[in-house]
């Protein structure tokens, strides 16, 4: 992959868009014409070349601009990155996982040389050249999680495992779909999932937790999650909901194609070696409706999924106000033809 990094924004003038290649590799999350929660966990194994599953950590054309947006969020609100004191070892585990994956899979951009605990990290796209001592936080400009989190696409939270539970005791979360790290830090798996409708009664969380408590080192897993966002805004935090909430009222039949975005999270989970904690990565992908319908199967399926989505999910995901307008627009792209199984384009 020899691509340019795009210069674009995720706020104010919203210049974000996807290249045709980026559209083709979009992780469309619906494998059939309807959607409901399930324990949709699969091994996080290598996918086809060029796909978002090719490497464990996916770096794409939006990398540099997404990192610039994260820097703005962290400058305005330092509470978006927090780690409880007992998470320092897990922070180093996390830094190691990211640096080794990124350097191995994208040698043209990242390099890591290690001699014992003396590490040398180079990040060419962001112009970073850092020598530090692994395990000694004073040798980095930020704590390890924040340091590497500022250099990798996707949000990350780190869960401590104790008393048969997972505890969200650290995270760097700047592009979230309307949940607050500052509020959730220190909660357990059931507590932070508290607001999700229906899934508790379906036992989705009981089963998912049981699975994760047994997650093995070297056998990461993944799942896809999705929501919708007005404008290509990365920072849809509850903290700033009073700034972006009104965007939901701005959707008109004329602007649906450009304003309404499908937001897909490729979530991966890794057991960490030293701390026994679990890393949760939330790698977000945005695509506007106009881009989405360039793949005919996706246009048809998006229309059908949105049409049959249970009301509880519509409300929880915040789609209520603009669903009808979006459905009306999408209906032009649904000729009723059958769609094939699976999420990929035909």
């Amino acid at each position: 992959m020899n691509q340019e990094f795009k210069k674009e924004t995720f706020r104010d003038d919203y210049t974000f868009s996807n290249s045709p290649e980026s559209i083709r590799r979009f992780p469309f999350p619906f494998w059939e014409d309807k959607y409901m929660y399930s324990v949709n966990i699969e091994p996080h194994t290598k996918g086809p070349a060029g796909s978002v599953f090719e490497f464990p950590i996916d770096i794409n054309e939006h990398y540099v601009s997404e990192m610039a947006d994260r820097a703005i969020v962290l400058k305005e609100d330092p509470l978006r990155c927090q780690a409880l004191p007992h998470m320092m070892l897990a922070q180093w585990d996390f830094l190691e996982l990211l640096m080794t994956s990124m350097a191995r899979d994208y040698p043209q951009w990242f390099s890591l040389k290690t001699e014992g605990d003396n590490w040398h990290w180079i990040n060419r796209p962001l112009n970073i050249d850092q020598k530090f001592v692994f395990g000694d936080p004073s040798t980095l400009p930020y704590e390890p999680m924040e340091y590497i989190g500022r250099q990798c696409q996707g949000d990350f939270s780190i869960q401590d495992q104790r008393d048969g539970q997972l505890w969200m005791d650290a995270g760097i979360i700047t592009t979230q779909a309307d949940w607050s790290l500052d509020f959730d830090v220190g909660m357990n798996f059931m507590e932070w999932h508290g607001p999700v409708p229906l899934a508790h009664d379906m036992k989705v969380f009981d089963r998912a937790l049981k699975f994760l408590l047994n997650l093995q080192l070297g056998q990461p897993v993944r799942r896809l999650n999705w929501t919708m966002t007005i404008n290509p805004r990365l920072d849809t935090s509850p903290e700033n909901y009073n700034k972006w909430g009104k965007d939901r009222t701005t959707v008109t039949p004329e602007n649906v194609g450009d304003k309404v975005h499908l937001r897909v999270e490729l979530q991966a989970l890794w057991r960490l070696p030293r701390s026994n904690a679990i890393l949760f990565s939330i790698r977000g992908y945005l695509i506007k409706m106009r881009e989405l319908v360039t793949v005919p199967k996706w246009g048809r399926r998006m229309h059908r999924v949105l049409k049959s989505l249970p009301q509880e999910l519509i409300d929880y995901k915040g789609i209520t106000r603009y669903r009808d307008t979006t459905l009306e627009w999408l209906s032009q792209y649904d000729d009723g033809a059958p769609t094939s199984q699976g999420g990929g384009p035909d």
Binding site: L79, D163, D178, S180, D182, F183, D184, V185, G186, M187, M190, E191, W192, H193, G194, P195, V196, P197, H200, P238, E239, N240, Y241, N242, K243, W244, G245, K246, R248, T249, E312, D315, Y316, G318, R321
Partner: protein
Amino acid sequence: MLVEGIKSRPQYPGLIADCYANHHVIAADGDGAQAIIDLFNQHGPQIKGRVTIVYAETLPNSADYTTRLKQLPVEIVHALPTVVTAIRRLTGVLHVARMGTRIYAAGTETMIGLTVQLAQELGMDPQAVLTEHRGTMARRVQCVHCKGFTENVKTNIVKCAHCGANLLVRDHYSKRLAAFQGVCVDAEVPGELPEIVEVFK
């Protein structure tokens, strides 16, 4: 976002005596005093060792409660005028507490929540705090926008005491913050508010 019946909402199973503890530290406010009296009536013989009570006199009849608490077989009753001063005193008590101490909390969710939070901050196991809810359901709410706390919230919607936002009081609860989450209710259409009703009595 605005979903009811959230699972992070804490449960308060009620006070029982820990017959293995050698020091019982009991924090309460308002009608929580009655929960302590009931505990002694029902489980008195199982309570061995020292008993320290920290009581916030938050109700008009609290002075009577204090008198009755002092008649229990306890080492000391610290009577304080407010929840904030009681928590301050509790901090002092717990700072010098030793192994074998069991913490109890009774009364409003705010009193219980702040006690559990304190236990956690002092490195104790917050899940080991025995709890019983008595009295008002009024909530301590944190504004997710400015992070300020608004106390004693009885209505579904409340004006943030700090930034003035109209907050919807969610059931989503943080033990670390000892507070429910408040989220701007009219962010999408400013001024468009649902009917304001008293729901936490």
